[in-house]
């Protein structure tokens, strides 16, 4: 366990996904041990979610008349900037009339990753006969195949030390193209799945390491360069964290 205490600023940065992943993992561990901080962290994260629920509809509202183009109103600047304004009107500024812009998602917005990963986990982990498309016995083939389909060099973490062996993997349709799912199970048959998809981040300077609970499925998820990862399992949070940490370290030696 790292001895460097977690600062208040780091707790906030954890909430906002603005911590480097390695440090975020340490914060996640800290939260396992400090209930009060974990409570605050959960509440702050909930605030962010609620802010989006409360106000995101404005991103899709029609732009009201008073914010439309100059010819409808005598904006003060028209008098002083007649030429520029003329140009704007001449060009139609048709866009001012367009309704329903949707702003591009902000960087770091990976809110849906845990959900799709949890759903994929819930669908395939109970599967008895066909849990995977390609079994662990063909691991080399599996990694080549999925790397090719995702257009990225994938690595399959080994979790034997954590008590989990690879079952295999499958290709899944993601919301932005192909995604991959690797399945593991422990000696008792308890399964965890690692979901990997190509992220749409244009600037991946910030990563996040976060926990989400989707019904019975717990998910730790993070971004790593071009790829988004989510480890899902129906187990307690600290067990999931232990394994997620190992996954992260193996992918970032």
């Amino acid at each position: 366990m790292s001895g460097i205490p977690i600062s208040e600023a780091e707790l906030q940065a954890y909430v906002d996904g603005q911590l480097p992943t390695a440090r975020a993992i340490e914060v996640a561990r800290h939260l396992e041990l400090h209930g009060e901080d974990a409570e605050r962290e959960a509440a702050y994260r909930r605030q962010n979610e609620m802010l989006h629920q409360a106000f995101d509809h404005l991103l899709e509202d029609p732009v009201p008349p008073q914010l439309r183009p100059p010819e409808r109103r005598s904006w003060g600047f028209l008098k002083h900037y007649a030429v520029a304004a003329g140009l704007m009107m001449a060009s139609g500024l048709a866009g001012w009339h367009l309704h329903g812009y949707v702003a591009a998602p902000a960087p770091g917005q990976i809110v849906y990753l845990p959900r799709v990963a949890a759903v994929a986990h819930a669908v395939y982990s109970p599967e008895v006969r066909h849990p995977v498309e390609v079994g662990a016995d063909q691991e080399a083939h599996l990694v080549r195949w999925l790397s090719k389909r995702l257009g990225s060099n994938l690595k399959i973490p080994h979790l034997a030390e954590q008590g989990y062996s690879l079952v295999g993997g499958r290709l899944l349709p993601g919301d932005r193209g192909p995604a991959a799912q690797f399945m593991y199970q422990d000696a008792k048959g308890l399964r965890m799945t690692l979901y990997v998809r190509v992220s749409n981040e244009s600037r991946a300077q910030t990563t996040a390491f976060r926990f989400a609970q989707e019904n019975n499925v717990g998910v730790f998820y993070w971004l790593d360069g071009k790829l988004g990862y989510a480890l899902s399992g129906e187990t307690d949070r600290s067990e999931l964290l232990r394994v997620a940490e190992s996954v992260y370290r193996q992918l970032n030696p």
Partner: protein
């Protein structure tokens, strides 16, 4: 003064109107005050567009302009009008019961925050700016952003969860 740049500028600025409106609505707590704020900010941005440097982050620049307009409005207390709860409810999206109540509480609690804390909570939590971007928009050091964020969030938490307010938050640093 034949500047096709104006056209380009307006077209670029336009795409941020929905975001400016979202932030303004959350900040002022009132739809019409929000649109007035956005309108004033856009007018000001068009007048001051020569100050924007192409290639730099236009979103951040527009938010900076709007923030300055807002600060001036706060001085004249326009933006701090309170809204009857019914009006506010009617413009909230249709969510499930619990969430809807929670949203209402949050919106009301936002009003109880000092304007400077509210701005940081929204720029970071809603607009998802980096701390650095928020610091630039507000023209304060990043440490100030962090302390306002921390205090603002904790206060919101206490307000929405019915916990007693604390005057000093434990700061581990």
């Amino acid at each position: 003064m034949n500047r096709p740049a104006s056209e380009e500028f307006a077209a670029q600025a336009m795409q941020f109107i929905p975001r400016l409106r979202r932030y303004a609505r959350a900040l002022t707590g009132d739809s019409s005050a929000a649109d007035d704020l956005v309108q004033d900010a856009l007018e000001r941005a068009l007048v001051k567009q020569a100050l924007w440097r192409e290639g730099t982050d236009l979103r951040a620049w527009l938010f900076t302009v709007m923030h300055n307009v807002f600060v001036n409005q706060v001085r004249s207390a326009v933006a701090n009008r309170t809204v009857p709860m019914d009006d506010m409810m009617s413009e909230l999206p249709q969510s499930q019961g619990t969430d809807r109540l929670e949203i209402r509480d949050l919106d009301a609690a936002l009003r109880a925050l000092p304007e400077e804390q509210r701005a940081v909570v929204l720029l970071v939590g809603l607009e998802q700016m980096t701390y650095d971007e928020a610091a630039k928009v507000l023209d304060v050091p990043i440490g100030t952003v962090m302390s306002r964020l921390s205090r603002g969030r904790e206060r919101l938490r206490r307000l929405t969860q019915g916990l007693p307010e604390v005057s000093v938050l434990k700061v581990v640093k």
